[in-house]
Subunit: 317 residues, 2 copies
């Protein structure tokens, strides 16, 4: 990439989530992949949302996003009800159990980019139908940074469309279980390498509370999660991670060959996700300020620091 | 600690393991906690084994250990059969399924330290009966570094004895699931803190392929595992980790307030474990040389390096 990329388009869900975890529950709270992504990325870059809500979408949620600088001009409001997700997390906070998915207006959603969005040079295609993800990409005039996510459902139902899409993707964010399933591998390092063969030069395998693997420059970099003594609600952690990752990467004004910048983006994503899961819905993401994020980024880098390896173990004498 | 500690006593099992994994199997191969520990620690310090085998223990295994500088003067040979373990790992390589445990001579094992062992200043009490672990500790004249491990069985059957033992332990190595069970917590950070309240100033929560948490100086340091594209046999990974951790820590001639040294010990443990799991039984541990270990330690430190946090993310302009 040359020249600064000033904004990023995100296409994904804007939802009302009802979530139950061992720490409590929410009822029709603000959620959706595009929402988590936007709230995380907004600290670093201009975010332009492409999505759809029903006429019942609360004005206060729109205000929550708009007042934080998120461009909602591509968020359509159409007759009908907003997408709703009902889910539950047990003691194993890594895996959500979906109790109900009501697509509502999302069922017939066909993303249509505004002129400003078509000219945007970066895009995050959240976990929607791969055909829609490709459709968004076709509408963009000169995308220079293309990132995407996916989910179990599309791996099962549209594997080939997803593989075709990946040819045009630079950065692929994917859960560990989904990476194994998509590549039909039993090992996450092999899965990441296989995914890179399919297109993306950067692959991020997300492992929830166990951290992430970054494949970049053909190497695999392992990262732990930020240690937390309480996780209240893991909903949206992956999209939050992607938002802070891509936002901080764009702000660094560099390119995909810069391993240091990519590693730093993993740290930013990890830290932002750690804030997100510490309370329900978007409560923390709405209010956390960049100074607190930067502080925890420094803390996390310090926790990870092991010196430069010069202090290799001495042999016995 | 002041002054160099020249050697470490390890008390644990010396076994013949039959293990099946998706990558293959072994039949009555060299194994046991004291064996894995010794082979890992030998690069850094003198290791003195306290254990028992039956008359059927192959002379070649004894030779394998002795020829690598491991002191077997405390390895008793008694009438009867050597301890045997039969286990299986499925696709989830984090959890072994025990198919058969034949304690044999281990059933009546009462550790009896030699004079040289009694004077030793460091000890690793591998996952045997907490009462026996305490008995070993009582025999030692001036232990300055006491480390131990445990296992599910003792948490269930001898929880109080284990808690009592921990009062006298400096470094506690424990699997994640066992840490949660022992402390009755749902979160591994809380579990580590609870364990530290019970005695050990350093707690290492082992997470298998997901790395480890180090509690030291009241802080929690998360570590990923070394990324591997193939794991053939996870047997002994935890004891290997502990062996390289403690060996490298003793070689550093420092004390438990040295966080940097402790973090470096986690790296050494992680790296040695990564070698161990790449083939069956003790095949790799028997032959890996310190130069290869050092090389991977440097590689791992480089993978983990995220700068000093000075490059915190810029805000959008």
């Amino acid at each position: 990439m040359t020249g600064k990329i000033e904004s990023i388009v995100v296409v994904g869900s804007v939802a009302l989530d009802s979530v139950k975890t061992p720490e409590g529950e929410t009822h029709e709270a603000l959620g959706g992949s595009a929402v988590y992504f936007s709230l995380a990325a907004r600290h670093f870059t201009r975010v332009r949302v492409v999505g759809v809500v029903g006429e019942d979408f609360p004005a206060q949620h729109r205000e929550t996003l708009a007042s934080r600088g998120i461009d909602l001009s591509g968020l359509q409001t159409v007759p009908g009800r907003t997408f709703r997700w009902v889910g539950k997390f047990g003691r194993n906070l890594n895996a959500a159990k979906t109790l109900s998915t009501q697509l509502n207006v999302f069922e017939t959603f066909r993303p249509k980019l505004t002129e400003a969005q078509k000219d945007c040079q970066a895009v995050f295609l959240a976990n929607i139908d791969p055909d829609l993800q490709a459709d968004v990409l076709r509408q963009m005039r000169r995308p220079r940074l293309v990132a995407c996510d996916t989910m179990d459902f599309w791996i099962t139902s549209k594997r080939q469309a997803l593989k075709d899409l990946l040819k045009r993707v630079d950065i692929f964010f994917v859960n560990e279980g989904e990476a194994l399933k998509l590549t039909r591998q039993a090992n996450n390092v092999r899965a990441a390498r296989k995914l890179a063969e399919w297109g993306p030069s950067v692959v991020v395998v997300k492992k929830g509370e166990h951290g992430a693997l970054l494949l970049a420059g053909g190497r695999i970099f392992p990262f732990p999660a930020f240690p937390l003594d309480q996780v209240k609600d893991p909903t949206g952690a992956g999209d939050t991670f992607a938002g802070a990752f891509l936002g901080s990467f764009l702000a660094a004004e560099t390119d995909l060959n810069n391993i240091h910048a990519l590693k730093h983006s993993v740290v930013c994503g990890t830290v932002m996700a750690s804030f997100n899961v510490s309370d329900f819905s978007t409560r923390v993401l709405e209010n956390v300020d960049l100074a607190a994020v930067r502080q925890r980024v420094r803390e996390f880098a310090d926790l990870l620091s092991c010196g430069n390896g010069a202090a290799a173990p001495p042999a016995k004498t």
